[in-house]
């Protein structure tokens, strides 16, 4: 009888821990990666891209590496490309979006962009591309986060 009770308690604790873990995983929110590229010009008038990568999620930093970041012009429209490498051996699901800023640093069509799914198989390198919504864009920000 005593042993049965012990088993019951142990089983209960294990079950509670498991369910709590599932509950947390199901409702947790995740931070992500932000990387920016800004078009500017040097003294000779050549176009240069200032780059900046911010990881505000330690788990994403372990999973993902930003290998390359570039911006080019298609006519007067700015295009951006980022090369991402998975550090994980399993398939990872992310979502990403490009935000665009004008020369004054104001966001264009603020909040209108949508997230796009990104599937990275183990150790895969993949590029993601974005196109500016209009010719005002001179700076972009790539945001990556886990698939909620």
């Amino acid at each position: 009888m005593m042993r049965q009770k012990h088993n019951f308690v142990a089983g209960g604790i294990a079950a509670a821990a498991l369910v709590a873990l599932m509950g947390l995983a199901g409702c947790s929110t995740t931070a992500g990666v932000e990387t920016t590229g800004k078009t500017s010009w040097d003294e000779q008038g050549a176009r240069i891209l200032e780059k900046n990568v911010v990881f505000n999620s330690s788990s994403l930093k372990g999973d993902l590496q930003i290998v390359d970041l570039r911006g080019v012009q298609a006519g007067d429209i700015m295009r951006a490309q980022a090369t991402l490498r998975s550090r994980d051996k399993d398939t990872l699901q992310f979502q990403y979006r490009f935000d665009w800023y004008d020369a004054g640093g104001l966001e264009i069509n603020s909040g209108a962009g949508s997230w796009k799914p990104l599937l990275l198989t183990g150790r895969e390198t993949k590029t993601v591309q974005g196109v500016a919504p209009d010719p005002r864009a001179k700076e972009f920000k790539l945001k990556i986060r886990e698939m909620e």
Binding site: F8, A15, V19, G23, R97, A112, W115, K116, P133, P135
Partner: protein, 200 residues
């Protein structure tokens, strides 16, 4: 045996509490979220298609050249929906048209509001309310130079607990004078749903 039953009961009760903690909440969601909910055509699919089409069109080199000096007038055709779902395809073309207008590269005519336009012009011409000098005359509208056409298809496969749906949206820009397709692109989306053991 009784012990097992008790454990099961406890797990069920705790499970119900844990689920209760996550379920039945009301909040604003992210309108741009890419999280898929089902294999049915969803909001993120619409956004992905619209963005892919617009991005492709405005950076296509002949289009860059065409739109560098002028803003061509385009008309949008209804999407040929060959999927098995009832989809508001006008919503897809509306998103595409809005983005193209906002890019500043194209201008559009809208045939869906022609009835209202005719009614308004008739009122201006015939009601006697409007100053003839400011009344808009019939036959002044600009004809479209291009027609934006699209096809939407789906391939659905179901094996056991897995449902695999492949969507393909194809769009073309037809030169109405020459009949030539000046631009075309397609966007593919694959959604896979695997039913879990607990029906999740």
């Amino acid at each position: 045996m009784k012990n097992g039953m008790q454990k099961l009961l406890l797990v069920t009760v705790i499970g119900a509490f844990a689920l209760g903690g996550c379920a039945s909440t009301m909040q604003y969601g992210d309108a741009g979220s890419a999280k898929p909910i089902s294999t049915e055509f969803g909001s993120s699919d619409l956004q992905q298609i619209a963005e892919a089409m617009v991005d492709s069109m405005i950076i296509f080199p002949p289009m860059v050249e065409l739109t560098s000096a002028r803003r061509p007038v385009v008309s949008v055709d209804k999407v040929k929906n060959k999927t098995m779902q009832h989809i508001d395809t006008e919503s897809i073309t509306d998103s595409i048209r809005t983005k193209l207008i906002r890019s500043g590269k194209f201008r559009f005519i809208d045939r869906t509001t022609d009835d209202q336009t005719i009614e308004e012009l008739k009122t201006q011409q015939d009601s006697g309310l409007v100053d003839k000098k400011t009344a808009v005359q019939f036959g002044q509208q600009i004809g479209a130079e291009f027609l934006l056409t699209s096809n939407f298809s789906e391939i659905r496969q179901k094996v056991g607990s897995t449902t695999d749906v492949y969507y393909k949206f194809t769009m073309s820009l037809k030169n109405l004078k020459t009949g030539i397709l000046e631009w075309s692109d397609e966007k593919e989306i694959r959604k896979v749903f695997t039913r879990g053991t607990f029906g999740g």
